[in-house]
Symmetry: C2
Subunit: 201 residues, 2 copies
């Protein structure tokens, strides 16, 4: 075989493939090695307002999300596999929540709302900004869509006909609740923090 | 915050969390570092017949599967992200295919078929073993279930009612075809290779 598995053998070294150089990815770790791939140039859609909520996301993940989706007691030995899934989920949560920067930028540039945001930013009115960017109708639609996702992708497949009410591997209620209590508020927090500094650029 | 993100900062070093020490995981790479977690003891379900088809799986992935699921031309720049997904898919394929060892062991221990396998193994009749372990009904049921999985998990979710025939992110036909041509035959190859050596233990 031309492409032998030994050609990419690992010698106790991490190879980065440009993860976290993308403007929608924030690492939970520091002192990452340089990517082995050449840098990509991304379109500059955001003002260079550099912050992230990863410490907070990490803390909420450990203290709220994990207890909500796992059994309280017992140890199944799979802490290695769990750790790899933790990393995956944390990165997905982080990416989703920091998307708020892009949402905020679009709102800032909006012809109608843009000037309203500018006024609020000038006086540092974070409460006013939060009120202006909150759209309950959109949030409810999002939660409805999330429930449908949980009911579809979380479904067990067997030979029986598809039934909406059983065979779910995850409880849709738990997911919707976490989104409502954690993901949406953190996303909006990102939006507010971004907007508060937006006039500096 | 008690659990600071700096506590698990990476210093150009790979940390293994016991992946590939599990009897259903086969690495595509060599010279892996030692896990930082203590070893787990797994129940000894298999005879110690050590082989894997990862070189073959890797070659088929590159030469058949990737061309079947990607566009032939063009470069979207996402080779870093693609590489991480390649690793994930290769590991899943490998795990699924090497499950054949467990299937073969169960067949070998079967009260009815066990003696038949022993006869065929004694004469090294790999063709006969392949025929005995092939169950077309089971294969067809598996492919049918796979199609339902693709139609369920591969569905786009929007506000419109669920319709079986559109909004699929992947073509169920392509997936079923790859399973029929690649995954099932390789799994059966694992079963035959395992059984051929089974009487040595």
């Amino acid at each position: 075989m031309a492409l032998s598995s030994t050609t990419y053998s690992i010698k106790s070294k991490s190879f980065m493939v440009r993860r976290y150089t993308s403007p929608d990815e924030y690492p939970f770790t520091k002192n990452l090695p340089e990517p082995i791939l050449p840098p990509l140039s991304y379109p500059e859609l955001l003002a260079p307002i550099n912050f992230d909520l990863n410490d907070k996301i990490y803390s909420i993940y450990i203290n709220e999300i994990v207890p909500a989706i796992t059994k309280r007691d017992g140890f199944d030995g799979n802490n290695g596999s769990s750790a790899t899934k933790d990393v995956e989920v944390l990165q997905l949560l982080s990416r989703r929540i920091h998307m708020g920067k892009f949402v905020a930028e679009a709102k800032f540039q909006d012809v109608k709302d843009g000037p309203l945001y500018k006024e609020l930013i000038k006086t540092g009115d974070s409460k006013g900004i939060m009120e202006l960017l909150t759209n309950k109708t959109v949030e409810e639609r999002l939660l409805k869509r999330l429930r449908r996702k949980a009911e579809t992708y979380g479904r067990e497949i067997d030979d029986a006909p598809i039934d909406k009410n059983d065979g779910l591997r995850i409880k849709a209620d738990v997911l919707v609740d976490l989104y409502e209590r954690v993901v949406i508020p953190l996303t909006k927090e990102v939006e507010v923090l971004y907007l508060l500094k937006r006039l500096d650029y």
